[in-house]
């Protein structure tokens, strides 16, 4: 119970609750229409009326950041889920099957790890078209390799544990053992890893949208908001720094909770 009272955890949870509200009901948090100008106030500095200032088309940047949460975070969640599920399955098969299958799969994983993740994601995005879903698939594919490795290691460890041996001697069929006993036990580290990976995925997704592979305008995304503001860095640095800081805070919050979930390693 003491863990719940940890101020870091509390703060992280608070940030994530607010972020979740932004994802589900952005209208509750955003004071303005993120797609329309608020008059002629272009590139205004942050103020009480416009917490993050206004952009070159006189739109409220805070509202755009709020509305940007949905795509940015859903893409990251999708990427992590895809990576964990796919990687988990591959690792499970590899670890269970052993022998040549294991060898072949692991060599493929080696290759996946040898291609820089961002490049893999770039190629995926280029072939599927720009957008949050392609980015999610690209990033998820990049994370698959490491999930598979961890899963495989877990499976190999558990395989030789006594209760598995016991189940085998009891005459349970292989799939039954696999799904009843091996998978639940091996999944724990995967879940812990996924929370860490989620933070990395948020960063990767925003990096890709920063590089210009994100959703079509005027749909806001965190990375593209930073990128849009970059040309005004000398005159209006808050345009980049504010959305960038929001990414940082959310990533820290995810990490903060992840460390607690993972037993504070």
């Amino acid at each position: 119970m003491r863990r719940l009272l940890n101020p870091v955890t509390l703060l992280s949870a608070l940030v994530l609750v607010v972020t979740l509200i932004a994802v589900i009901w952005p209208g509750l948090l955003a004071p303005y229409d993120p797609f329309d100008s608020v008059g002629d106030a272009r590139l205004e500095a942050p103020s009480a009326a416009h917490l993050f200032g206004t952009d070159a088309l006189a739109r409220d940047v805070f509202s755009r950041v709020v509305y940007g949460a949905r795509l940015s975070l859903l893409a990251a969640v999708l990427a992590t889920t895809a990576g964990a599920v796919l990687g988990g399955l591959v690792g499970l098969i590899s670890g269970t099957a052993g022998g040549r299958v294991d060898f072949a799969i692991m060599r493929v994983i080696d290759v996946m790890l040898a291609i820089p993740g961002i490049l893999l994601a770039l190629i995926v995005v280029a072939s599927l078209g720009f957008g949050a879903v392609s980015i999610a698939i690209g990033v998820g594919l990049g994370a698959t390799g490491s999930f598979a490795r961890v899963m495989r290691a877990q499976v190999m460890r558990i395989r030789n544990e006594e209760y598995i041996e016991a189940a085998r001697t009891m005459g349970l069929r292989r799939p039954t053992i696999l799904f009843r006993h091996v998978m639940p036990n091996a999944s724990q580290p995967i879940v812990a890893m996924a929370s860490t990976e989620l933070a990395l995925a948020i960063l990767a997704v925003s990096a890709l949208s920063f590089l210009g592979f994100g959703a079509q305008p005027p749909t806001p995304e965190w990375g593209s908001l930073v990128s849009d503001g970059r040309q005004f860095i000398a005159t209006a640095p808050w345009l980049s720094i504010m959305p960038g800081s929001v990414i940082l805070v959310v990533v820290l919050a995810v990490n903060g909770l992840a460390r607690n979930l993972g037993g504070n390693r």
């Binding site: 080696d110 790890l113 893999l120 770039l122 960063l203 990767a204 990096a207």
Partner: protein, 344 residues
């Protein structure tokens, strides 16, 4: 290739080295195959994309012209033919010609690689030194809360988006203070800000590994013994703790390289630097097949060779490994080994 010179060596060494060399070769070949397949699955017309880059709003979409260009770039043969001929050319070190710009891909890579390596190397050094400093500071920090506070700082490095760091560094150190150039790849000064940007996440990764190793070692018997023998604090740190930190640090260098290779795409964009990352982003957008393949191959070779050397080094540094059957030493904490696929 590499093992050839060692053939005369004794059997055990060969048995240790040969699989690692084979594995490196395999990674390179398979990477080529995967990249080739992925790139040829790209929609869009590489010829048209190349033409548009050069001709701008005067680009033609006349099908006859496009067919002629396709033939000129060798894109009219069968996929298998292209696969084989391209691979053979790669073996001769011929990476082909960029369709968009007409430059030799080998030249482009040779030009850009040193600039990227300069930043990446400096980032590794800064990250390593910074992580070490934080590790020692945390080790020496006395009140428990201070140690806790110090150890909270390095993990921030992995949470900061590289573009945010870059943008802040540019506005403070380039525009306001004028200490470093905001852009370009000219001289050492221009590598400083990009390297700092990249060193934050690499440093955070190093720190995780170091602190795990050092604090375990700090509790380990031999450190207590050393201290009991009356060895001074610096000696304990230097002789026992650092040595324990270096070994795991080496193992994650391969991963760090994969990470850096991705990270440079963002950093080179923020700092308007010429480099591998920027070339890649442009090439993917322009469907510049040869450039993308060339870059991936170069990165894959670097990665494979580094991994191989690290494995071999590890064997030299830690004789126990040589006897182990396990394929590769891995760091124990997954948190310390971020996926090669996540770059920020």
């Amino acid at each position: 290739m590499r093992s050839a010179g060692r053939l005369h060596r004794a059997g055990p060494v060969l048995r240790f080295v040969a699989p690692k060399v084979l594995q490196a070769l395999f990674v390179v070949w398979a990477t080529y195959t995967v990249t080739f397949l992925l790139i040829h699955a790209l929609p869009g017309d590489p010829v048209l994309a190349a033409l548009a880059v050069r001709a701008g709003d005067a680009a033609t979409t006349d099908p006859e012209v496009l067919d002629a260009l396709r033939a000129q770039y060798g894109l009219d043969g069968s996929i298998l033919h292209q696969y084989v001929s391209h691979f053979l050319a790669l073996f001769r070190g011929d990476l082909g010609v960029s369709m968009a710009t007409g430059y030799d891909v080998s030249d482009m890579v040779a030009r850009a690689l040193p600039k990227t390596v300069a930043v990446a190397a400096l980032a590794l050094v800064l990250g390593f030194v910074g992580a070490l400093a934080f590790t020692i500071a945390a080790y020496l920090a006395r009140p428990q809360w201070l140690r806790g506070a110090i150890s909270q700082i390095p993990p921030l490095g992995i949470a900061i988006p590289a573009f945010l760091t870059g943008v802040v560094l540019i506005s403070v150190f380039a525009f306001q203070l004028g200490w470093f150039p905001a852009s370009g790849a000219d001289g050492f000064a221009s590598t400083v800000l990009p390297a700092i940007t990249l060193s934050l996440p690499t440093g955070a990764i190093f720190y995780q590994v170091f602190s795990a190793a050092v604090f375990e070692a700090g509790e380990a018997g031999f450190v207590r013994t050393a201290r009991a023998k009356g060895l001074s604090q610096p000696v304990v740190i230097g002789r026992h703790i650092l040595r324990n930190a270096v070994l795991p640090a080496i193992t994650i260098i391969g991963l760090q390289i994969g990470y850096l290779a991705g990270g440079t795409a963002v950093v080179e964009t923020v700092f308007s630097r010429d480099g591998i990352g920027r070339i890649t982003v442009d090439a993917v957008l322009a469907r510049d097949i040869n450039v993308v393949t060339g870059v991936v191959m170069v990165v894959a070779v670097i990665y494979a060779v580094t991994t191989m050397i690290v494995d071999l080094l590890y064997g030299v540094l830690d004789p126990r490994i040589r006897t182990r059957v396990a394929a590769k030493p891995r760091t124990r904490s997954h948190a310390a080994t971020p996926a090669g696929g996540d770059d920020a």
